[in-house]
């Protein structure tokens, strides 16, 4: 019973904090939107062949990539709040609570995921307005995929952040990780036509499966079998959640 309480408490906290920081909400939407407009419109306008090669309009192809990019960036960066909590002392309040730390961290990941998906939802509305060919019926499933993606990367972010002492350190790791993972995920171009040497890099990138599944729901095309996408995502989410809970459970002040 207390498990439900702590999950709810942490979820409540993350949501409250999120809605209080309105500028942050706006900031996290502008970035992916610029990618979508500048990259998407530029490519689809100047490279007429690209849409023919993919089989769909390039903007439609790019849309799920941008959605996943939004989710991924927001959720992974969300892990940094663990470091801020250490800096500002709130971490101690959680550590001395007579409640399960596993559920505390789960509640936190759920809260961050809800906010990440909300952001993604806002982006999606804009994208759907710009690209009418996207499947409206798939939106909910696409958001579901983004939710799983968010849990996965928020947990990873928390696991890394729990080991770090400075926000700057985490920021550095985030900067080094975020762009390669996005570029090597098939968010911006299809992976089918890539040379065989490069392909394995895409296959070990968890984001590839998120993008592929989201694209399946939003556009109706996918590079990989859908059930493979889903299996990989669920499996990795379970692993990363476990990892973050274990790291957090071992956190002391020593």
């Amino acid at each position: 019973m207390n498990e439900r309480n702590i999950i709810y408490a942490m979820l409540y906290r993350q949501l409250r904090r999120y809605f209080r920081a309105k500028s942050r909400v706006l900031g996290t939407i502008i970035n992916p939107l610029m990618f979508f407009l500048f990259l998407g419109m530029g490519f689809s306008a100047s490279m007429r062949g690209i849409s023919a090669a993919i089989g769909v309009d390039y903007l439609a192809f790019l849309a799920p990539g941008i959605a996943v990019m939004t989710t991924f960036t927001a959720s992974f960066i969300g892990g940094i709040s663990v470091i801020w909590d250490r800096e500002f002392g709130f971490l101690k309040e959680v550590l001395v609570a007579p409640a399960s730390r596993t559920y505390a961290i789960l509640g936190r990941a759920l809260g961050d995921s809800v906010t990440s998906v909300l952001q993604t939802f806002l982006i999606m509305i804009l994208i759907y307005a710009i690209v009418p060919s996207l499947k409206v019926g798939g939106m909910l499933f696409a958001l579901g995929t983004c939710f799983i993606t968010s849990l996965m990367f928020n947990s990873l972010g928390i696991a890394i952040a729990s080991k770090m002492r400075s926000p700057e350190g985490f920021q550095l790791i985030a900067n080094v990780l975020i762009f390669p993972l996005i570029f090597l995920s098939g968010a911006f171009y299809p992976i089918e036509n890539l040379p065989a040497v490069v392909k394995p890099i895409f296959y070990i990138n968890p984001l590839t499966y998120s993008v592929d599944l989201t694209r399946y729901f939003m556009v109706g095309i996918s590079s990989l079998p859908v059930h493979l996408d889903l299996t990989v995502l669920l499996l990795l989410t379970a692993i990363f959640t476990f990892l973050s809970a274990r790291t957090f459970n071992r956190t002391t002040l020593d």
Partner: protein
């Protein structure tokens, strides 16, 4: 059963021994204080007692439970106010308390009522919807104390409860703590490097230095343990001093010294001895030019046992840093 029981507790950080084999018991319903300079091992001890650090060796029981083996049982029964703020600055006072209540298993109407009660106790009802980052240091302290009490703990830990606060807020927090003991019967374990805080507030004090307890007892016991009141009498010249000394009943003096016409008389109770000194002097026709007396303070006690003054310079410097940290 004692509220807190500690036996041969040791905590080492690498080659540094922060806590060096301390043992003590805190009885239920008392205010027990750790008095010592910064770096003496006070916070480390608290961190072990509240289950946030593991001791290197030794044992500690809080509310009857071993802090290493049954940390959750301990956590359920204690409230803590850390030295540095541990509230969420981006949430309001109300929200901070609400989350705390949830985490400690409260819900529904009960939870909401307790939140309001706690706000009232902290005298923050008016500011309940203000984000904590806009609170003053004293308001945050009050909020944290109210939060630490919200789940009705058996034992409350206060780590330097009044550090960096103005005298009025400090006095107010002392009143809170006394009220807690008197009305709620809460056991309080606090650390402080303020002599007057320990004297004013604590039923018993342990003086801690370099990770060891050098003396323990009630403030009065500790002060009496190192000596008595000292009366200084200036009579002008050495011969008058010698005559006055002769006239005094040696039974009331613990010891005495005479130097350049000043008599230093150690007595068990200065307020009773001073009239006698006047009486004897006037009977013998000796004019007293000046008289004063000093009572030993816990500061003298610290000096007596450690051979050092309890210097606050370093503490002040740290407080400035801490205040800056708080203001961010």
């Amino acid at each position: 059963m004692s509220a807190i029981s500690v036996r041969n507790l040791v905590k080492k950080f690498g080659s540094l021994t922060a806590v060096d084999g301390i043992s003590f018991d805190v009885e239920k319903g008392e205010i027990f204080g750790f008095l010592g300079p910064n770096g003496a091992g006070k916070t480390t001890t608290i961190n072990i007692l509240v289950t946030l650090m593991r001791p290197t060796s030794g044992e500690a029981y809080v509310a009857g439970y071993n802090v290493v083996e049954e940390p959750v049982k301990v956590r359920e029964r204690i409230g803590i106010v850390f030295q540095d703020p541990s509230v969420d600055r981006n949430l309001t006072g109300w929200e901070n308390l609400y989350i705390h209540g949830l985490v400690y298993g409260l819900r529904g109407e009960e939870l909401r009522r307790r939140v309001e009660e706690s706000l009232e106790f902290a005298e923050l009802t008016k500011f309940k919807d203000v984000e904590v980052k806009n609170y003053s240091g004293g308001m945050i302290r009050r909020l944290e104390i109210a939060r630490g009490l919200m789940h009705k703990p058996e034992i409350l830990f206060l780590d330097e409860p009044t550090i960096g606060l103005d005298p009025q807020t400090r006095a107010k927090i002392w009143e809170y703590v006394e009220k807690l003991r008197d009305e709620e019967g809460v056991t309080v374990f606090l650390t402080t490097h303020y002599i007057e805080e320990a004297e004013r507030l604590c039923d018993r004090v342990a003086i801690i230095d370099h990770g060891r307890i050098v003396a323990m007892g009630s403030p009065d016991e500790l002060k009496q343990g190192i000596g008595k009141d000292v009366i200084y009498v200036r009579v002008g010249d050495n011969s008058s001093a010698a005559r006055l000394l002769e006239g005094l009943n040696k039974g009331m003096l613990v010891s005495y010294k005479e130097l350049n016409g000043v008599l230093a008389l150690s007595v068990s109770n200065a307020s009773k001895a001073i009239p006698t000194v006047f009486e004897v002097a006037s009977r013998m026709g000796i004019r007293i030019e000046e008289i004063k007396y000093t009572q030993p303070s816990l500061s003298d006690v610290f000096l007596h046992y450690t051979g050092r003054e309890m210097r606050d310079e370093e503490a002040d410097w740290r407080e400035v840093i801490r205040m800056r940290h708080r203001m961010r």
